[in-house]
Point group: C2
Chain length 222, copies 2
């Protein structure tokens, strides 16, 4: 019975996610679900990335956290509108709560929305939020075995950002292992190496996102 209930929840989530995606698409809002472990550097990456995107389109951020509004405050501080979702203990965002965030935004105003999911390398993978693409952020300090150990997170990723490259000289980390594991699980995944702290690789990621959005708008990619 528990399994049936879980399936029902996922099915209901999928229906609401489709509804979110339709609303976003109708408004031309390219939407990114950004996922990763606690401390992978997702918010810091947004702080580095959004100033670059800002000159090219109007962006908003939806922040998912168990507690606090720290992350939304950090995004507001760089002049980007944000909505903070608190899950009250839940380990992932779902399409329903993201739908509530969309209700609070005037979607016609935005060209891109980035949803920063709850810090979790497991639970968030199972929930479609209605996004157009998924970007997984993995910190180099988490170690090179993470794709192999948490495969579900990586198999539906459109992009994988290996973050904190500025720490490469100080840690034992084999980016080649992460890249080959990721390509095996998700052959189409685009892999970036970046440092949100130093800015290294951020412009390349930003251009890729803008290009992805352009191809989506033109109907070249779904």
């Amino acid at each position: 019975m528990k399994i049936i209930a879980a399936k029902k929840i996922l099915k209901a989530n999928d229906q609401i996610a489709e509804n979110n995606r339709r609303r976003l698409s109708q408004n031309g809002v390219f939407t990114v679900n950004m996922l990763g472990s606690p401390g992978a550097g997702k918010t810091t990456l947004l702080e580095a990335l959004l100033p670059l995107l800002k000159s090219r389109l109007s962006a908003a951020v939806i922040e998912g956290d168990i507690a606090t509004s720290n992350d939304a405050e950090r995004i507001e501080a760089i002049g980007i509108p944000s909505v903070q979702l608190n899950t009250d203990g839940a380990c992932h965002l779902d399409a329903n709560i993201v739908g509530l965030a969309l209700d609070s935004l005037d979607l016609g105003n935005y060209g891109m929305i980035i949803v920063e999911n709850v810090g979790n390398l497991i639970c968030t993978a199972g929930f479609d939020l209605g996004e157009h693409i998924r970007v997984v952020v993995l910190s180099a300090t988490e170690g090179a075995d993470k794709v192999e150990k948490y495969p579900a997170m990586f198999q539906n990723a459109h992009a994988l950002v290996i973050n904190k490259t500025d720490l490469y000289p100080h840690i034992d980390f084999d980016p080649g292992r992460v890249m080959s594991d990721a390509k095996r699980i998700a052959p189409e995944v685009r892999i970036f190496q970046a440092s949100a702290r130093s800015g290294d690789g951020i412009a390349v990621l930003g251009e890729w996102l803008l290009d992805k959005r352009e191809r989506w708008l033109q109907g070249i990619e779904k």
Copy 2:
């Protein structure tokens, strides 16, 4: 109905956890539930810690992962018996699966068992496994906001290990913030700063664990 089901699962888990704890206590096996994010350095910490414990008592490790037996293999490689539990997608260990691991060990042979939980800063906090103490490992590279953002993980911790101190010179991290946040949420928590990679702080942690076990054996602490 969903909420009731969840409560039933937690209640069933608590009963099995009490049973595990009784079995462990009757055999004099002091048991540690080690928790933390993916890549916090839990396995590397065990690789540094267990050789120190080995000369003082006989230890075993139960490894919890979604996939692979990598971690149990690493523990076996340093000569410590280990059991690998694969959760098949579940984001945490529970008392039932840990009970199965206990069935496979001759408990009379061990003075200490360390259970390395699935890498997750959220879900694992809600499940008593039958342990005597909880040790949370937080990597300094995860950032100083983690106690505030994931409070449930820290509030029942007996010890907090801030790991990867060797990277302090290369990151922006305020250990004072973590310590004051942790003390506010869990006033009795013992906080360690350590580097599993350099060995810094590992002996102090090992002595504390041995002392904790001694006091537990003597009935000074539960």
